[in-house]
């Protein structure tokens, strides 16, 4: 399936881009993160991240659909 990935903060620095299109057989965010973490050598463990799908927070086992936009969010630090 085709997904669009968004990267923020330290993940963006590590991935070297703010967004990318990926083709993947991962069916949920957990499997998808394992793939991209290996490819970009991301070191933040999933327990430290939150997931968003199509602009809303989502669960790690959410079933993904073709064309979904997925973001893995590092701990926030606004304010």
């Amino acid at each position: 399936m085709n997904y669009r990935l968004l990267y923020f903060a330290s993940l963006r620095d590590r991935a070297g881009c703010a967004a990318e299109a990926v083709e993947s057989d991962a069916a949920d965010p957990r499997a998808l993160y394992a793939q991209i973490a290996a490819r970009h050598r991301l070191e933040l463990a999933p327990e430290k991240l939150r997931v968003a799908v199509n602009g809303e927070f989502a669960a790690w086992d959410r079933v993904l659909a073709d064309g979904d936009e997925i973001a893995f969010l590092p701990p926030v630090s606004g304010g």
């Binding site: 923020f8 330290s10 963006r12 070191e43 933040l44 630090s77």
Partner: protein
């Protein structure tokens, strides 16, 4: 206009305060977060805030709606800067109007606490030693 906003230009706290004006409100409490020249013992030279705009706006709006439901207030507004900021710049502004000051103080504090904990905005601090780092909500560096 939405109650929670992201701003790429300097925040005008006085103009925001005027949006809260009301004949039935007796109290207005505002919080301003300023860019501080130090954090956890390190000299900070400047900051950059990065946001996930779609989700930040939705989550910020949710926080303000929850706050209005929970406290006896008239109105709550919040604006957060994104982009590059210098020492002394206004990074975030929260304003709450209410009939009485108890609710205004409690709600203003609630808003800034929740914004810091939940809204997808990230702070990158640039230090005097040339290094920079993304921060956790508690101000400590992200491990990666």
């Amino acid at each position: 206009m939405s109650a929670f906003r992201l701003a790429e230009i300097p925040i005008d706290g006085a103009a925001l305060g005027r949006e809260l004006a009301s004949a039935s409100a007796g109290a207005c409490v505002s919080f301003e977060g300023w860019v501080r020249n130090h954090n956890q013992g390190k000299a900070v030279q400047r900051l950059a805030y990065q946001a996930y705009p779609a989700l930040a706006l939705a989550e910020g709006e949710r926080i303000l709606a929850e706050t209005a439901a929970r406290f006896a207030i008239e109105q709550a507004l919040c604006v957060h800067r994104v982009g590059d900021l210098a020492i002394g710049d206004l990074a975030v502004w929260v304003g709450v109007s209410a009939a009485h000051r108890d609710a205004a103080f409690a709600a203003c504090r609630h808003v800034i606490d929740e914004i810091k904990a939940r809204v997808p905005i990230w702070k990158n601090e640039f230090y005097a030693d040339g290094f920079s780092g993304w921060l956790h909500p508690d101000g400590s560096p992200v491990a990666e």
